[in-house]
């Protein structure tokens, strides 16, 4: 039987090269998908009957909100892996994902405010979903600043991991907030049982979602490469790398 080493890429040494090869693919895919998604969103998708042109903000708002929650779960998952199995790379991935997640949370809040002004007549309302998304931003910032304020990287990884896991109780609260509380923020339009949305709008939305996802992956891989270099700077293999030696 062919023996596959499942754990080959769990070592920073090998993952560094793999990440370097993957980054251009994800970055390229993200650019193409962004252009395609924005084109469909702006020129193909029809004007909304109720919200007129302003609804097009959702093409960035919805993917950013979905990813803000998704990245948090992935980050907490990596953090938990790092905490349980004591794998260095998992903790590095969690650290690498946090700034991108915080960025998407911020974009979701910002674009939501821009949409809220013409639709609700207010930049901000104290609605359950908005509040819980704001808490998510605070959780990301807490994760980043806790990690930054502990000097020993291993202790920083483990402490931040525990915080990320505790904070992940917030994600289901955000997701179900529009269902549990009857609030101003509208509920989900796209469901597994089908949707009332125009086909072109769906296409634009999914293309933008994929674009944001590819962007997040590219950024996380790029950042994890820097983190690997920084943490392993004393090792021989890093010294031997062509980009380090030059």
């Amino acid at each position: 039987m062919l023996a596959i080493n499942w754990f080959k890429y769990s070592a920073p040494t090998t993952f560094y090269g793999l990440a370097g090869r993957l980054v251009p693919w994800f970055a390229g895919a993200s650019v193409i998908l962004f252009v395609a998604g924005l084109y469909i969103g702006f020129f193909v998708a029809p004007t909304d009957a109720v919200q007129s042109e302003a609804y097009r903000i959702m093409f960035i708002h919805v993917p950013a909100s979905i990813l803000s929650m998704f990245i948090y779960l992935v980050m907490a998952g990596y953090a938990a892996l790092g905490l349980i199995f004591n794998t260095r790379l998992s903790s590095m991935m969690a650290t690498a994902l946090a700034p991108t997640g915080a960025l998407f949370t911020f974009i979701a809040l910002w674009s939501g405010a821009l949409w809220g002004k013409p639709m609700w007549g207010a930049w901000w309302v104290w609605d359950a979903r908005l509040t819980s998304e704001l808490i998510l931003l605070f959780l990301y910032l807490g994760f980043i600043s806790l990690h930054a304020s502990i000097d020993d990287p291993r202790r920083a990884d483990r402490a931040a991991a525990l915080l990320a896991i505790v904070g992940s109780v917030n994600v289901p609260i955000i997701y179900f907030s529009v269902k549990w509380w009857n609030t101003l923020h509208q509920g989900a339009t796209i469901k597994f049982s089908g949707t009332s949305m125009h086909v072109a709008m769906q296409q634009a939305l999914f293309t933008m979602l994929l674009a944001c996802w590819a962007y997040a992956v590219a950024m996380a891989l790029l950042r994890v490469r820097s983190i690997i270099l920084e943490r392993e700077r004393t090792t021989q293999w890093v010294q031997d790398l062509p980009e380090v030696r030059s």
């Binding site: 509040t131 808490i135 605070f138 959780l139 910032l141 807490g142 600043s145 806790l146 304020s149 502990i150 202790r155 483990r158 402490a159 525990l162 915080l163 505790v166 904070g167 917030n170 609260i173």
Partner: protein, 222 residues
């Protein structure tokens, strides 16, 4: 198990009673923050009555942050905490004892003081009752969530500010349901659901936070 719990609680209470000034500062801070609001926004009784639950709850949240740094730091500095990690009994029970003692010292006085402050805001007797009940359920949660933050930031430079940044977002649900219960009581609606949710959070926190805090202490002490 309960013997250990009682022992830790008694020990921490005795220590706190030896340094009574620390206990009083939290309470005085609470009273001052609440009393500053009428000075800041003006003394119209109508508005004050509306603001009261939120003001008292926010002040309670802030003053509970103030005392978090003390929960483990003294034991950490004189090496007691290291000995506590070595005992054969469960560290979670030990931590629960410390949390309980911390609540009795810094949370319970706030609960007892809240009705007097509520009178400053011209709250009705029923609203005061709900406020006290909510605080009674809510302040232990603040101590428990705070314990996780305090354990994670143990011995860090600038830990005091950091612990607020970590703990405050997680405490927001307590604030929402706690002040929501009083607002519901004032406007004549059913407030039991808010209190039931607070009680549910309390039970969940009681199960999970001592263990999480124990893990955080192990991370911080290694």
């Amino acid at each position: 198990m309960f013997g250990l719990l009682g022992l830790v609680v008694r020990r921490d209470l005795v220590l706190a009673m030896r340094r009574r000034a620390d206990v009083l500062t939290t309470l005085i801070f609470f009273i001052m923050v609440v009393s500053l609001f009428p000075l800041g926004v003006g003394p119209e009784p109508e508005m004050l009555r509306k603001m009261a639950p939120g003001v008292v709850w926010v002040a309670a949240l802030l003053s509970s942050m103030l005392s978090l740094g003390r929960m483990f730091s003294a034991d950490y500095q004189d090496g007691t905490l290291e000995q506590m990690l070595l005992v054969p009994q469960s560290l979670s029970v030990l931590v629960l004892g410390k949390i309980l003692a911390h609540w009795m010292v810094s949370g319970l006085p706030l609960v007892l003081m809240a009705p007097v402050l509520g009178l400053q805001f011209d709250m009705t007797a029923q609203a005061l009752g709900v406020l006290v009940l909510g605080l009674l359920l809510g302040t232990p949660i603040l101590s428990m969530i705070g314990a996780v933050g305090a354990a994670l930031t143990l011995g860090l430079r600038g830990g005091g500010v950091l612990v607020s940044l970590l703990v405050l977002p997680l405490c927001i649900p307590v604030l929402i349901f706690g002040s929501g219960a009083v607002e519901a009581a004032i406007s004549g609606m059913n407030y039991a659901s808010h209190l039931a949710l607070l009680a549910a959070i309390l039970l969940l926190a009681l199960v999970f936070t001592p263990w999480v805090t124990a893990q955080a202490l192990r991370i911080s002490m290694e």
